[in-house]
């Protein structure tokens, strides 16, 4: 049995909430390119901006399997909000909690407060995409401060966030060991947000560049020691990939369910199109692939909960689930025919949202690099 099967009641409750509170926001968020305030508020009440955080920080203290269930279920009805949940919890709050000190946790992770807020994650730069170690942002030590200059791109929740954890080079000599991480606070002089990206999908999520122009960052905003930033972020991405895998799974399931219902009710040639073998096989292939992706997503989640190493498993889950998502959203769209090409059904949006899952938090190509590296490292001759 999959690791998530013992959480059937939890999933049921999560699904009901998503269907009632999130699904109705999805289309407008996509059309207006605005992250819904209602989602920010309701998810805060629900505690979903602090899924992993312990109760004393206002969190739910849930495990990775439960977290994957939440991300999957949100994305089953809306990719944009699901992506925002994933980016904030895994990437934004995660590293501050895991690598920060108690003062930093208390300062930045105060989720018991009445107002919800988001934390963004800044790793990618215009010239450092798949090559994340090619970071050019530079934090120049100046007494008790660092003077930060540089740019980060494709930052989820760039406008909405209150804090951002970012990487910058503290040692000009190069190499990934010269990279450190810092928490930036909105309102710091020289810290600005670029124009909102006009994206293919996940249009309800808030994506923009972050610009640093002589930002004076106090030393106490550095997370961990100098030179630990790249390692912290790579560990963070191991977990983040599980959440993008869960996102891909949710989108695939959402599209598959719509296609299945459509196949059963759409009449052509005098019978439901589900009577045709060509459609039946599409449904069968979608269901098989979803089941396999589910195994990888919850298998990797369980490994994380068990405290095992899961770098390869999370990359495999992300790679496979995102490719399954591509297949399923595309196939579902095909089942819907011309209607699938329009916003009459959410499948059109899910298909556009899907493409992010093969790009964000490491492209499919990078997942293959990670997986192959682990395989070769662990192969004994």
């Amino acid at each position: 049995m999959f690791a998530d099967s013992k959480y059937a009641d939890f999933r049921k409750e999560v699904r009901e909430f998503c269907e009632q509170e999130i699904a109705p926001l999805a289309q407008q968020a996509d059309e207006t390119q605005q992250f819904p305030q209602a989602a920010l508020d309701r998810l805060h009440e629900k505690g979903w901006w602090a899924v992993f955080m312990p109760k004393d920080l206002g969190g739910l203290g849930l495990n990775a399997v439960q977290y994957s269930i939440i991300v999957e279920e949100v994305c089953r009805v809306d990719g944009s909000i699901g992506l925002t949940v994933a980016a904030h919890n895994s990437l934004g709050a995660g590293p501050i909690y895991n690598f920060g000190n108690d003062d930093q946790r208390r300062k930045y992770l105060h989720f018991g407060d009445p107002q919800g807020y988001l934390i963004a994650f800044g790793l990618t730069e215009p010239q450092a995409g798949s090559d994340a170690g090619g970071t050019k942002s530079f934090a120049d030590k100046d007494g008790a401060y660092y003077i930060l200059n540089g740019t980060k791109c494709w930052i989820t929740s760039a406008n909405l966030c209150k804090y951002a954890i970012i990487t910058a080079r503290t040692d000009k000599s190069g190499g990934v060991k010269g990279i450190s991480s810092f928490v930036l606070e909105k309102g710091m002089d020289g810290f600005s947000v670029g124009k909102k990206e006009d994206k293919m999908g996940c249009r309800g999520s808030d994506t923009a560049f972050l610009h640093f122009d002589d930002v004076k960052v106090p030393e106490e905003n550095r997370i961990g020691s100098e030179g630990e930033g790249f390692r912290q972020f790579m560990i963070t991405l191991d977990g983040g990939r599980i959440s993008i895998a869960a996102m891909a799974l949710g989108l695939a399931v959402g599209a598959f369910e719509i296609a299945s219902k459509y196949a059963k009710k759409r009449i052509q040639f005098g019978r439901p199109i589900g009577d045709f073998q060509a459609i039946q096989w599409k449904l069968a292939d979608m269901a098989c692939q979803i089941e396999a992706a589910r195994g990888l997503v919850y298998g990797a989640s369980q490994l994380k909960d068990d405290g095992e190493k899961f770098t390869q498993q999370s990359a495999m889950a992300k790679l496979y689930a995102s490719e399954v998502c591509n297949f399923c959203t595309s196939t579902a769209l095909t089942v819907l025919g011309a209607e699938g090409f329009t916003s009459r059904y959410p499948v059109e949006r899910m298909f556009r949202d899907m493409k992010l899952t093969e790009i964000g938090e490491g492209t499919s190509e990078i997942q293959r690099v990670v997986i192959a590296r682990e395989i070769l490292k662990n192969t004994q001759l």
Partner: protein, 382 residues
């Protein structure tokens, strides 16, 4: 086999290419965002004669061969696939319908204006409940005196907003079922005709797509195209030409995406070297280019066969099937090669990816092509 294009074909292709690169490519992103095509671009297209590609010279058309036609659609699609579909529907469905089935009067009345681009043609076959199963259409036309009275709804009508005529398929004899379908030339603003709101589509956003509905629509009986109850014969005879157009469109989208991906992969450096230095990227490019080459040969051959008059529906469906699948494959890979930049509108691959999807849906879905191909195979019609 001779794979050389004629001088005329090269000239037409180059004319289309120049127009596409100079006039369409620079504005394609803007048209996509606005969701419309400005009249001046339609006018310029008309001046090139591209609305009369399939009309005989006696009616002011260029009367080009199908391969030339495919080359032009391919070039236009490289810059703006939405513009190409307007040209394709107008030429391969509307002009051909009137030219092949119209009376002399109908030809005289409509072909010169269509060929000159003074009026744009729309094609109305699908209905909400008649998609792949086109024969099950329900839009009813009852002959009453000098008019047909129309009631029903047609879906996915391209260019509906500004079209001058609509080739419309209606049921004149419900007892005869699929054999009771007739074809009418419906003029815009006919009494009882109503245009729906623009469809919110994933791609081809600059192309206008709507429902057209009739509430006691009045269409003179003289607007019957071909014989009464021979409507599906008209529709099915046009499928091949339409599919060559979409095949060429898919090919053009794929080529444009490939060109963008190749130049990006040469420029973009990661890990201290350009992406083209990585074998994974090299092999992606090789696979994309190979599939494009196959699509191109199939599309050109389908166009060539069409003009020979030989049985060729199977080959044409194969070309449409493969070229549209290739467009989806190639645009998907082109987005991957661009990474995050492929997901935003600053780079055209984002649009190519959205535009490619419909090539597997309209003029017969991929599944409908497989029905045509497998039927021909099983009947031994190879």
């Amino acid at each position: 086999m001779d794979f050389q294009l004629s001088e005329d074909q090269i000239m037409l292709r180059d004319t289309a290419r120049e127009f596409a690169e100079k006039r369409l490519k620079p504005v394609a992103e803007e048209l996509d965002a606005k969701g419309e095509t400005p009249m001046e671009l339609i006018q310029e297209t008309a001046e090139l004669g591209f609305f009369g590609l399939t009309a005989p010279e006696q009616y002011g058309g260029l009367g080009v061969d199908s391969l030339s036609y495919a080359l032009i659609i391919e070039e236009i699609s490289k810059a703006c696939a939405a513009h190409a579909i307007m040209i394709s529907v107008h030429n391969s469905l509307v002009i051909k319908a009137i030219n092949n089935f119209g009376t002399d009067e109908q030809k005289e009345k409509y072909l010169p204006k269509l060929a000159a681009g003074e009026i744009i043609g729309a094609y109305s076959l699908s209905e909400p409940n008649a998609g792949t199963d086109a024969g099950s259409l329900q839009c009813r036309a009852i002959k009453t005196g000098d008019n047909y009275v129309l009631n029903g709804t047609k879906s996915w009508v391209s260019s509906a907003k500004f079209a001058g005529i609509f080739i419309t398929f209606v049921l004149t004899n419900p007892e005869a079922g699929r054999k009771g379908v007739s074809c009418l030339i419906v003029e815009k603003d006919s009494p009882g005709m109503q245009l729906g709101v623009p469809e919110k589509k994933m791609g081809l956003k600059a192309s206008d797509t709507r429902e057209v509905s009739y509430l006691d629509g009045q269409v003179p009986v003289t607007q019957l195209l071909g014989e009464e109850e021979h409507g599906l014969r008209v529709a099915f005879s046009l499928l091949d030409a339409g599919r060559i157009g979409v095949s060429a469109q898919a090919l053009g989208i794929a080529e444009a995406a490939f060109d963008e991906a190749l130049s990006y992969a040469k420029e973009r450096e990661q890990f201290g070297r350009p992406l083209v230095d990585f074998q994974a990227t090299q092999f992606k490019l090789a696979e994309m280019a190979t599939r494009i080459e196959a699509s191109k040969l199939m599309t050109y051959r389908a166009a060539f066969l069409y003009d020979t008059g030989a049985r060729n529906s199977k080959e044409i469906s194969m070309a449409k099937l493969y070229a549209s699948q290739t467009a989806n494959y190639v645009t998907n890979e082109a987005v991957q090669i661009h990474g995050g930049y492929g997901y935003v509108k600053e780079y055209p691959v984002e649009r190519y990816f959205r535009d490619a999807r419909v090539t597997e849906i309209y003029e017969g879905t991929t599944e409908a092509q497989k029905m045509v191909i497998s039927r021909a195979l099983i009947k031994g019609d190879v």
